[in-house]
């Protein structure tokens, strides 16, 4: 296990950072040391796996360890005397090893206690959309034929499902993940175009009726970039600036625009936010020109031009406004920005140009564009790092609630459970079908009813006999306390295949 040592040889305290697995070692953490007046003595963002020696004189110090989500450990420690070892249980920030990356890389609430097997999440599905480009022009949005490409791996738990997108880079186009359910409003979440990205779908921590019932947490495996983006999103600029002279770090991110344009965009957004325009160089222009599928570069360059116009005088100022407006209009033509920061800057920039009377032709175009962006703004989740909005189609954002299961369903995948009614409709299950349990120690039989409910017929668990359940998961939970992998524990009487094998096609 990694860690750091505080003190000098002979008078030191060893901190051991106890995380779940190898991936945790790649996560940035911030280690801060304070004196008794809580004044900074030391502060550094570094990888969790890196070992350090922090030299301080004997005395009492405060140690704080933070991730992108905020502090995870804060304690005074006495350096000197007998020394000692402190074990910091960093793994406690996440309920599962599978979810650890999400809790490390962004500020998300602790698990709510709600489950994906709860009735409100019944029939939760997802699918992918891509912005189609023809002849260099983005033309339309299309549903991808397969929700989950073969190279994606899935890890299912009742409190969250994780998708890992290992494999080939997804190409230079905007991809949106759409999630919805019979009672879950449909929403879109932008996916980073990097090779390895992760998605966690889980019940939200917000009380029912407040906010969307399902969280979709997205991250690339570029943990430094994700950390900077999280700090930016929650306004923690002081921590962001400490990320190893963050201006230089962000500048290097923007410099790498050829190999990783989404990372470059985050660097650009950070430099705009701290108003370090000198470090943008001409790279924002290049980012916009060399990645014509991505709106974010055009937005960043537009704001660089606006700042130049502000600093300039007279005709030089006027000549900069037009290209800035054109960049914003171009950004919207390319699609929706990857990042929420981009959506906000797009809206604010177009708002200004919609009021600018000196150029009536651009003013009219900006007004039309603003009307489109405002539709996204009305439907957006402004607290998310990546662009997130509700709606039935990517080009039809709406704050109104759209629910249900898409028809046709073929391009979708169920997140956790497949509703029996759905399987009835497709002839996978039939009314009157007899189901047999293969749960160890709990024999039982059930019958599929006409209305899609599953009636428990024979079981040793007395109170449940004769009851009807809305899903096999709910039935299994009544018998065992858990709904996990319910499909695999049941089969149709006389059939060798488990129901799980029958429904696999709808979970892929």
């Amino acid at each position: 296990m990694s860690g750091f040592t505080l003190g000098r040889s002979g008078a030191e305290v060893r901190f051991i950072l106890d995380a779940y697995g190898n991936r945790a070692g790649e996560m940035p953490i911030n280690v801060e040391v304070f004196d008794q007046e809580l004044q900074d003595v030391y502060g550094e963002w570094r990888l969790l796996s890196e070992d350090r020696r922090i030299e301080v004189e004997p005395g009492v110090y405060g140690v704080r360890i933070s991730t992108a989500a905020g502090p995870v450990y804060e304690k005074p420690v006495r350096v000197g005397g007998d020394g000692g070892t402190v074990t910091v249980p960093i793994h406690e920030i996440s309920p599962h090893e599978d979810h650890e990356w999400a809790y490390f890389s962004q500020p998300i609430d602790p698990p709510s206690g709600d489950l994906l097997s709860d009735e409100v999440n019944e029939g939760l599905w997802l699918r992918r959309w891509e912005r189609v480009i023809r002849d260099g022009e983005a033309v339309e949005w299309q549903v991808m034929p397969k929700a989950l490409p073969d190279e994606w791996t899935v890890s299912r738990n009742e409190d969250g499902v994780t998708y890992s997108m290992g494999g080939a880079r997804r190409g230079e186009r905007i991809t949106l993940l759409q999630v919805g359910g019979e009672k879950v409003p449909w929403k879109f979440v932008a996916l980073p175009p990097t090779q390895d990205a992760m998605v966690l779908v889980r019940p939200t921590a917000a009380p029912h009726g407040f906010g969307h019932p399902v969280d979709v947490v997205v991250s690339s495996d570029d943990w430094w970039m994700e950390t900077l983006l999280s700090l930016l999103q929650r306004g923690d600029l002081s921590q962001a600036s400490r990320m190893d002279d963050a201006g230089h770090f962000a500048e290097q991110m923007l410099y790498g625009k050829v190999s990783n344009p989404s990372r470059a965009a985050v660097g650009g957004y950070y430099l705009l936010r701290v108003r370090d325009f000198g470090r943008l160089h001409d790279w924002a222009n290049n980012l916009a020109n060399w990645n014509d599928w991505m709106p974010d570069g055009a937005i960043i360059h537009a704001w660089q031009l606006l700042e130049q116009a502000r600093s300039a005088r007279g005709s030089q100022a006027k000549s900069t406004f037009a290209p800035a407006c054109d960049r914003l209009l171009e950004a919207l033509r390319r699609g929706v920005p990857l990042y929420t920061e981009g959506l906000r800057l797009l809206r604010d920039g177009l708002t200004m140009f919609a009021n600018r009377k000196e150029d009536t032709e651009r003013q009219a175009r900006a007004q039309r564009a603003l009307a489109m962006v405002n539709a996204y703004a009305a439907a957006a989740d402004w607290s998310a790092k990546v662009t997130t909005f509700t709606g039935a189609r990517p080009d039809e954002p709406t704050a109104a609630s759209v629910t249900g299961i898409p028809d046709p369903y073929d391009s979708c995948s169920f997140v956790f459970d497949v509703p029996p009614r759905f399987l009835l409709d497709r002839g996978i299950l039939n009314p009157g079908m007899r189901l047999v349990s293969e749960i160890e120690g709990i024999p039982a039989t059930a019958t599929v009813q006409d209305d899609g409910l599953i009636r428990l017929e024979e079981t040793a668990v007395e109170p449940e006999r004769g009851k009807s359940f809305r899903s096999l998961g709910a039935l299994q939970k009544a018998l065992t306390g858990k709904s996990f992998q319910a499909w695999d524990a049941w089969k149709v009487a006389g059939d060798n295949q488990s129901i799980g094998e029958r429904v696999q096609a709808y979970l892929k």
Partner: protein, 375 residues
């Protein structure tokens, strides 16, 4: 026009505040000139007792700390209204006007001109009252609903106003919206007119140091106790009083960046008894000093024991670590207290056994600390 606070004659760079609290809505339900509303949900909006008190609290705090601000306080323009049935509300002697939409526009123009007089001025805008959001957050003036066929003429748009204020030369600009951001079903079928208090026509792009906080996340509510100061206003004052402070080169200061990053934690500490965890939406550009804190800020501490059964029989003490000072004591937990920021030792003792005595070291770091002793 009379200001609630006026030391503009002193000249030089100053802090100028526009503080608005709308609780009395004359044309809405329970108002002094109630009118039948056509916009379906306008008629359901009620009178509010918290906003005028919240605005007065913010104004009073600014006066109290007028010399600790990064630029000394120059002026406060206060506009408040209380419901007709609210006999207990008082401005505590501060001069105030009614927050009609005309008065808000006029007050904004005057305040903006004061802020524009020096580039090193600090501009502070605070609004508390009804709010609704579609595309922009629409903040409702006292006479909202005067024209039922288009009630939005009695409102203004927060985000568009914020962008419009970039025209002002003041390098530091702080905007606070303490209002709900819910959307109604009637608003889904139409788009309210976006009316900013100022249009940005490129006299200025974003200021050097911007702090903008909405008390509620998109689609959510901003809450407050009946006849009390709103949770957001309480949180803001706590943040300024030290909840967002840090020790910089031996001096405790509050930076705009720290206010933005800690405000949600502070508001949850303030309204922890509510069932809902209110979230703020904060945005900051290029953090800078907002005010100084005279001494190490007080930090709220909450101490309890695990398991819960130990709380009733615990003897608790809390004392500075390695510094002279008598321990503070309490019988039974949970225990809430405030101590100056620093290092402490918390103890739980059980004279009759049954649980393990426990001692733990604590950093009392702003904004607050929760101590759970495993007994």
């Amino acid at each position: 026009m009379s200001l609630a606070f006026d030391e503009t004659a002193a000249g030089g760079a100053q802090t100028h505040a526009l503080v608005i609290g709308v609780g009395g809505y004359r044309h809405l339900l329970g108002g002094s000139e109630e009118r039948q509303q056509i916009f379906r949900h306008a008629g359901l909006l009620k009178q509010l007792t918290s906003p005028p008190r919240s605005a007065v609290a913010i104004a009073e705090w600014l006066v109290r700390r007028k010399d600790d601000l990064a630029q000394p306080l120059g002026s406060i323009d206060l506009l408040v209204s209380a419901p007709p049935s609210d006999d207990e509300f008082t401005t505590n002697g501060l001069t105030a006007r009614l927050p009609t939409i005309a008065n808000i526009f006029e007050a904004y123009d005057s305040w903006r001109n004061r802020c524009d007089s020096e580039v090193d001025n600090i501009a502070i805008f605070y609004f508390c009252g009804h709010g609704l959001e579609k595309v922009d957050q629409h903040l409702l003036a006292e006479d909202f609903g005067a024209t039922p066929n288009n009630p939005w003429t009695g409102s203004f748009a927060f985000n568009a106003t914020r962008v419009g204020f970039f025209n002002c030369r003041a390098r530091m600009q702080c905007f606070f919206s303490d209002a709900c951001r819910k959307i109604t079903s009637a608003m889904l079928n139409s788009t309210p007119t976006v009316i900013p208090l100022e249009i940005n026509d490129f006299n200025g792009v974003e200021c050097d140091h911007s702090l903008s906080i909405q008390a509620a996340a998109g689609g959510e509510e901003a809450l407050g106790p009946k006849s009390g100061v709103s949770y957001f206003a309480q949180a803001l004052i706590r943040a300024f009083e030290g909840g967002a402070a840090r020790n910089s080169a031996g001096k405790w200061v509050v930076d705009t960046g720290e206010v933005a990053s800690r405000i949600t934690d502070i508001i949850r500490m303030v309204n922890k008894s509510e069932g809902f965890a209110q979230r703020c939406d904060a945005r900051v550009t290029a953090s800078t000093r907002l005010l100084k804190v005279k001494q190490a800020p007080n930090v709220p501490i909450a101490i309890s024991c695990i398991p819960d059964a130990a709380n009733a029989v615990a003897s608790l003490s809390f004392e500075p670590l390695d510094l002279p000072g008598d321990p503070r004591k309490q019988e039974g937990a949970p225990w809430e207290l405030e101590v100056p920021a620093g290092f402490y030792k918390a103890k739980a003792r059980f004279s009759n056994g049954g649980f393990n005595n426990r001692e733990d070291t604590v950093i009392a770091f702003p904004p607050s600390q929760i101590v759970q002793l495993q007994c």
